[in-house]
Symmetry: C2
Subunit: 323 residues, 2 copies
């Protein structure tokens, strides 16, 4: 194992443990009334996700907090913020899997929420995870001004794109991407549409995970009003480029791997004519594009020097993965 | 028309106009991409609701801001906060009407969201209204500490009840109430269950509308850290008592009015054996209980004196209504 591989393995293992501890603390127990919804929320949240968004959030928080960060640990509240982002991701998956949307029975190797708990409970479990995510952010141990900045950025990122033209906003939003994805079904995918859907549907939440982590890290480092505009712009560029690269790699894996290797229904995107990067550019060009996007993402973090190594190693690992 | 009737008519008319102006400003236009979801969000939001929650919010804000409030107008941001609460109410109705839940085709005299736009778009439109509500609260023109207090209180009120045992919280939450309502279907309704469902499903959002309005009004009146604990406790008691009274009156009207008079499918609760107050206590006792709850609600506002008249007149009107 190389040094880089060891760093990444440590980040992924520690990050997943910290995220799961935070989720365990924040999600109501299975014996909390009403039972069915809390069981459904936990079923989907603890179905074996990689915790990519929380880990990116915590690493961005640590990088921005810098030498002020006590013992170079993850800043206070970053695990809770990461858990909130994972709740938002899980809520979007639960609703996306519903019969009226993607109608998927299998997710992360487990029955999807509506298969296990029925459609009504799955709809409400998704709703409640969104609510609990915002509650968790509102309760972060950070100055109120930083909490409000994080709340605004996250809400814009997971919405339809409202306010995304404002300075500091991330355009367009996660739900907007889901709608564009539905509307694109059956039409021949174009390059422009594919990029817009990717940036919205998965890119916005990944990007805001990094930006929100930076805002929290900055607040703990006692900088002025949150992070500087330059820091936020650099984190956003890193998130947008790396997020798009992750999605391209996901789409390539969907076309080249079996369902068993992926833990979800493989070839689904092709089968339903969904707009994906490899469908437009082919598999080889997609791999080249992902590598270039990661190089651009790394450039954005240049001013952070050595402190950016964990985040960069993690991104490199994610585009190099084979399943 | 008596003086009280004139006061109430003015509150309802002005409040609905202010709410609609705020919603018009905050909701993306029907020509904003992606079209389908923004049209669906507007279809349900502008389907003729009474704007009860926003109006209660604005009147509570005005009452608490008191003589500090410039020209005794609605405090700055109260209409936007009211609009956010109406978005949350609308999102819950859209999801509640879905085939997997209540399967209702008619709401406020209009086709429900999934009938007009399809199930996928209706699910995502509800999701996006919840997101936009939290974004709107995060962007309120108020000190960050007050914004965070309002956001926490609202998130707890519309969730499953997580954190509802904390001081300042409202137990249990709106989604929790929807789940209890689903779980109760077909079972003989008991008095305890009916009260718990009412307090959660509709009471929590009504109560937090009044509490959040008070927190905003207090922040504008330059009191110390938001409203005093006594003020919040009194607003909460008023909201809980009056909210339960409104729901009892709603259930009585559902049993005694035609669909045409109500603008929604009448007798639905009886038909599906839903737990309602008149199903347990009968219609006459329900009317007596509603009157007693309103009297208790008024007692809680005694220290506000004359400033409480608009809020009290409004509550009285709502339990006296016949459709």
């Amino acid at each position: 194992m190389t040094d880089t591989q060891a760093v990444v393995k440590n980040i992924l293992t520690t990050g997943a443990i910290l995220t799961d501890e935070a989720l365990e603390r924040l999600l109501p127990g299975t014996e909390t009334q009403p039972h069915s919804i809390h069981r459904a929320m936990r079923h989907s949240t603890f179905a074996g996700g990689k915790r990519l968004r929380p880990i990116l959030c915590m690493e961005a928080a640590r990088m921005v907090a810098g030498p002020h960060s006590l013992g170079n640990d993850i800043p206070d509240g970053a695990a809770a913020l990461g858990a909130a982002l994972e709740m938002l991701h899980t809520y979007s998956l639960i609703h996306d899997d519903l019969p009226a949307l993607d109608n998927d029975d299998l997710r992360r190797g487990q029955p999807t929420c509506h298969v296990a708990f029925g459609e009504a409970t799955a709809i409400l479990a998704g709703d409640a995870l969104q609510t609990l995510a915002f509650q968790t952010i509102a309760e972060l141990p950070a100055p109120p001004a930083a909490v409000v900045s994080i709340l605004k950025a996250v809400a814009i990122a997971v919405g339809t794109g409202v306010g995304a033209d404002l300075p500091g906003a991330l355009a367009p939003g996660m739900i907007g991407g889901q709608v564009m994805d539905i509307e694109s079904g059956g039409k021949p995918p174009t390059a422009d549409l594919v990029e817009r859907i990717h940036r919205a549907k998965t890119g916005a939440l990944i990007t805001v995970s990094i930006v929100a982590g930076g805002l929290l890290g900055s607040a703990h480092a006692h900088h002025d009003a949150g992070a500087s505009a330059d820091t936020i712009a650099r984190l956003r560029t890193f998130g947008e480029k790396a997020g798009l690269a992750f999605q391209i790699v996901d789409d390539v894996l969907d076309m080249t791997q079996s369902s068993e290797e992926l833990g979800k229904t493989a070839g689904k995107d092709t089968a339903t004519d969904k707009a994906t990067w490899p469908a437009v550019y082919g598999i080889e060009q997609s791999k080249t594009d992902a590598a270039q996007l990661i190089a651009d993402a790394f450039d954005a973090l240049a001013p952070f020097g050595e402190a950016a190594t964990p985040l960069k190693s993690l991104a490199q690992y994610l585009v190099d993965r084979t399943h």
